[in-house]
Each structure stands twice: as C-alpha cells, then as structure tokens.
Symmetry: C4
Subunit: 228 residues, 4 copies
C-alpha cells in the first residue's frame, strides 16, 4: 500500500493529507471472516511506511493499530464498508482528490446533475462492465462537512448504479474499487483519464454525453443489426 500511495502522490491525487486506500482480505463468510486494512488519517501518504496501517474486523472494530503511535483512524473508514457491503467481490477501494475528479463534478455549472455521462471513448473499456459504445453513468453525490457523513448518499447511489465502479463527490474527489488492488488501480487510472477527457472535450465544445456526429447513422444501424 505504501508503494501505491507514492505513485498516487506523484500523480497529484493525494495532495496534502488527502485521499486514502483500503484493502480487504477474506471471503466474509463465518468460516472465513474478512479483515479490512486502511490508511490512517491526516498523514502525508507518500511518506507512509508499511506498518502505518489500521486493521479492522467486519464490524469496523480496530483489531491491530499501526505500529507508529498517535495515528488516528480515517474518517472515511465507514465508507470502505459501504463498498465492501454492497459490492461483495470488491477487495480494494481507493479515494483520491484528483484535480480531474474534482473538476468533473463541476462540468454542469448548475451543480444540479446527479450523474456524469460519457460515451464512445476507448478508455470506457478500462472501468469495468463497459465497452466503447456504452453510456457510462457515474453518480455524483454532494459533499458534506465530514467525510463519514457521505455514508447515506454513497449507500443510495451504489445501489442505484450497479454497473458503475466509482462514485464522484462534488467539489471533493472520487471513490473507485476493484476485485484486487491491481484492478482498482487500473480502473482509477481509466476513470481519471475519462474525467480529464470530459473536461477537455467540454472546453473544445464537444458533447461527451452524446453519440459522435459521424456515428449517429452508423451506430443506430449497428444497434438494430445487433438486436436481431
């Protein structure tokens, strides 16, 4: 986890002490209960060492604190469990304050939109459950005074958008998960690339939520063909 933290810090995704990572081990059955590992609160993630990790049981109780004294449990701890509960195969959740993620929540300047829609981009293949011509819908929830207060909205949208492996938090950042840390990282990079794409396309005057103009006829034909 400390190596991932270094990589994400280098990308500017963990500014200050922002962002965090959680990994789960175990199936979550009675015979094989799962354990959750979580980065601590308020430390510079790129200087974290391997032992600066909290280990928790299925009921969010700390079973092993970090070896460095004085570290606090992250206020996003309960949010890891929202994902692990509603996405039984997820084994890793990553939260970043990426500039692209933050700005992607502001593409609708009224800030009323509850979802970001993207289609016809190759990198859609990287986020899971989507291919090039799919419409990706990423839910956006409003930010709260404290991170842990995001739980009700996260619980709601993770159920409303079962195909999407990410949740955007307005004026804040993004949560992304996968069935392994490799998959979570791959999806995170793909989502972030798509966020940047959306920001750039808007600036270029192109609607990222619509079928490309040159594809409109072809695509409808192809779809009809597929449906036969």
């Amino acid at each position: 986890m400390s190596q991932l933290c270094e990589k994400f810090y280098a990308k500017g995704w963990f500014p200050g002490t922002g962002g965090g990572i959680s990994v789960r081990i175990g199936a979550g059955t009675e015979a094989d209960p799962y354990t959750v590992f979580s980065t601590p609160s308020g430390i510079q993630k790129e200087d974290m060492i391997g032992d600066d990790i909290f280990e928790l049981d299925m009921k969010q109780n700390v079973i092993l604190p970090p070896s460095t004294p004085g570290l606090k449990l992250s206020s996003m701890t309960n949010l890891w469990y929202v994902v692990y509960h509603h996405r039984p195969s997820a084994m890793c959740v990553i939260h970043t304050h990426s500039m692209n993620a933050q700005l992607a929540t502001l593409l609708d300047s009224t800030e009323e939109d509850q979802v970001l829609r993207l289609t016809h981009l190759e990198m859609l293949k990287g986020v899971g459950n989507h291919s090039y011509e799919c419409m990706l819908e990423i839910p956006i929830i409003d930010n709260q005074m404290a991170e842990n207060l995001l739980e009700p909205d996260m619980t709601r949208v993770i159920q409303e958008y079962p195909k999407c492996n990410a949740i955007l938090v307005r004026r804040h950042g993004v949560y992304v998960w996968g069935d392994s840390w490799e998959e979570a990282k791959t999806r995170l990079e793909s989502f972030d690339y798509l966020f940047e794409t959306a920001i750039q396309m808007k600036q270029m005057g192109i609607d990222f939520s619509s079928v490309p103009p040159s594809k409109k006829t072809k695509t409808s034909t192809k779809r009809a063909h597929n449906e036969i």
Copy 2:
C-alpha cells in the same frame, strides 16, 4: 521493452492497461524469417517484467508464451502485422492512449475529417520523411468495438498515406512505428508533441494546417525558386 513501458506509463500514455509495444527481429525472408514480440493484454504496463512477452512467428502463431502464467495475447496483435506487412523496414510499433493523441482526433468537431494536417513546425523533422515546411498528413480512422476490428481501416490508410509513420484512432489513441525501437520512440515523442501543439494552437486561434501569415509571400517565392 519493460523499460520503455515504464517511461511511457510515466508520461500518461499507458493509462490503466491501455497501450502496447511490439518489436520485430529478422528480415522476413525464407532464409531469415522474422519473429514478433508483443506486450500481453490487460496488464499494467509499468509493472511488466522482461519475460511477460509473447513471441510469434510470421503467421501470428505463438511460438513462446510469457513465463508468467495466465497472460493473454493482446487484441492488437493483428495490427502489429498490418504495419510489418506494409512497412517492410519497420521493426517496432508503439500504441498509446496519450491524451494529446486522443484529443487530436477531435480537433474537427464534426469528426468527419479523415486526416490531421500540420505544417511549418520544427518538430515535423522528428516524424520521418518530413521537414519544416512540409504538410504532414496523419490519417484518422474511426474506432471500433474491439481493437482487432481496426485492421481493415488500418490496412487501407497505411497504403493511402505512404509518407506518414503514424495512424490516429478517433477517441482512442495512436499507432507509431520506426526502423528500430529508438526511432519509433523518437517519432512517437515528436508526433505527440505535434498533437499537443495542434490542440494548443487551435485554442490560441491559430490554424495549424496553413502556412503562417508572415511566410505566405516568402514561402511561395522560395518554392518557386526551389522548383527551378
């Protein structure tokens, strides 16, 4: 190849598991048949190790799989052969999902353009077959549901644009090649620089496809002079 992958990942050209590299060894004659090496599918390129490479013969048959078990052949494998077949001197092909390459395919917002044209830029010298005052024409093909389906369009444009060492794929990325990995990398960096230049010039209101205003008279004179 793993060192190149690391470099390109650092530049943001291999987000998620996107992009890939192929190298060819051998002349392709009966006495000296060529062998193609290709990065595998769906792995994080920056963590690839030296042995995670497929080795294929001239008929696209795998003759040596990677030592890491479970790796799959990339769906862009047939595209390497399009280049190796139509550009007999090419010994290395690189495919990236660079943000600049992707956005360069959207500079015409109707997305009807089948070619990106650039002229009067010093870095034109870096892409092969072009000098400062040349008009570089890079073909743009439409993206498909699966990477391997790009083969017919790639086969068509690689013949239509014999001077160009790259093919852009709309809303996706770019393929670039050279007579060695060093040349492929050099051209890739030059193309990418030119893509970024075109994006920035459009934003600054400058037409990157036209002779600069201050050059119009001088250039036509010079050309006339050259032709004598």
Copy 3:
C-alpha cells in the same frame, strides 16, 4: 530541508533559484531561545546539500554560515521573522514561485483585489482553521523591487487575517507556514491545489467565491439550525 527542496523543485515550485524554506527550532523564551535555519540565496534548490543552510539567532544575526563558501543570505530572511513573530506556533515557512500561486493573484484582472476568497471545497480542510463550508480569505500583497521590501505589507496582512496560514504576493508567489515542516508542506500542497482549482473554475465560468447554486437553500437552513 534538501529533500523538501528536491520535491518542490520537481513540482515546478522552485524554478531557477526561486523560492526558499525556513525552519525554526526552540520555544523563543529566554531559557530556550529559538534558532532559525534558512536556505541560501541564488542557488538551485534541487542541488542544495544538507549543509548549505544559514543558522540565525532571534535577532537575525548569522550564528553559523553554510559550509559551502560564498553563499549569500537570502533576501527573504527578514520575512521568515515576520511569520515567526506574529505566529508564535509556526516552526516552518515555505516560499514558492508556483505557477498556480502566481496566476491566482491575477484572477481579478483589475489587480485591485487585496484578497482571494474560496469556499465549499473539500481541500479547504487542508489549510488549517477551515472546514468545507468556510470562506477562506487569503490576503494578496503587491510585489516590490526587492523581496525584503515586502516586510511592511506582510506584517500588516498577517495581523489582518489571523485565520489564514498563507500570504500571496502578486505576480510573484506565496508564503505558507505550519507548526512543523510536515504541516507547512501539507498546507502548501492544499493551498496550491486550491489555487489551481480557482484558476480552473474561473475558466469553466464558475464563481469560486460563492456558495454553490445547489447548496444555497440547504446551506442557509443548515446555518440557521447551527445557530440555534
């Protein structure tokens, strides 16, 4: 300090020989007077070695010069003392020429504004004394011919804005401090992220100084509730 310098150079915050760092040790009482350590003037910070540091007493007298001969005291030395005097708990001050900081002082194109205001951004939590819904006010002072001439304006605004841990210098950069070097670095990264956010939001046509449109009703209700 040399490791911090390397990190900040890599971020582009110390272009040329710009920027600097100071650390204070000691309580500043008669029994335990404090000592100030300062990076020297006019050297490339990323190549600085551990010993290239001036050590000064509470009256700005050099008590130990750097071991490398010929280094000069930085012209921002007196500014470190402005912070240490008016913020008794501050133990580290960092000055950068970050592009984001410089451009953030130009968001009001009349350049008459004496303060940059930001609200409803998660990263406000990273700058000290502020939470998500707070209005952050960062004073902007005009630049002077020499760095040390900034002292009167810095002395004035550090008292006028007791909640803010940074001072912007127009067309120049930013000063940020914290109770440890870790806190100063964390705040600096948070401020810089906020500067970039403001620049981007302005470009997207969003007013970063106002309550978000979708929050206006909710927030006023919540505030009323809090005040009861």
Copy 4:
C-alpha cells in the same frame, strides 16, 4: 552534460531528438584558447552517456569525436559559436524545444512581431540583467529549413538585444545562455516559466507587456522619484 540532458528530457524540453547543450572551456585568448563541447545530432538526449560529446576548437574543427562510433555533429554547432563570439562571458548555451517556448512565439497570431515583451513579473529577476519592473525584450527570429541557417538572424538579434540572454525561434524553441552551466540552467528555467506565464496571462485576458493597472499611478510616481 548527460545529467542535464536527463533533467531537461523529463521536463519535455528535449522531445524526440530535439534540443542540445554546449559548454565552453577556456578564456579564448591566444595563451588560453577555448574548447567547445557539444551534444551530438539525432540521438535521444536522455540516453546519452558522458562520452557522446564532440569537442571542437575555436574554428569549429572537431578535435575529439565521441567515443560512440557513428555519431554526427549537430547542425546547431555554428549557432553555439554565434553566442560564444558575441557574448564573451557565456560559457554554456542550451537549446530546447519546450512547448512553452514554441507557443510563446505564437502569442502574436499575425506572427509579425519580432520581439516578446514582458514586465512586472518576479521571475524577471532570474533571466539576468532585469529586475521586477523592467521590460524584458526577447527577440523572435523566423525558423528556417535547417538549424544552421538560423545563423544570420541570430547574429543580428544577439547584437540588437544586448541585455537579453535568450533568442526565441518561431514555431521551434529557444536558445538560452549563461556564464556557467548553472547560470544557463537557472536562466532557462526562468525564461520557460515566463513563457508559460505569458501564455496563461493571455488566456486570462491580461496584457503581459503592460504595467499592471493598479501600478500605473504608483509606478510613474516612483520612477519620477528615482530619477531625482
């Protein structure tokens, strides 16, 4: 020189095989003739090793070729001598294809301007001979089909702008020099920062060539005062 090349490659200033560095040793007197060291042509600068350098005498004759066989003399070699001849104290010249430098030559979209003017920016202190309130004038020359053909225009403008330590080449890049490699690098970073500043300020609608609006009265007063 190979370490500098690595640094500049990482910044994107040496895309492909673009850019180059030269260092001079010796006073240039009869008793102490100078020797010029130059990076070779057409190689990837970040992979250059220490010995891949040409050593030339005062008359541009090669006195020691690189140890790696097959390397060619750079076509910018004669341009190093333009600088060494007209700036007797310069001991290092650096040429980059920085995106900022290239775009800075296009800020006047008519491309008729022969000079880029910048004023009232702190980083002006980093380019040599200028302070905060000075007007920096950087000459822009038109690009040519071959690098060495830039000699006449470079020879003209280096004499016309004796205070400036850089020459911009339209749609190409920049040449910067200093009395040591450290000074050349410091100035280069400062110039590049100023180029980026100019590009950003134009996008923000601010005139980088004029005295800031809030300074107009004060400055004229101050100048009058200074002149007494």
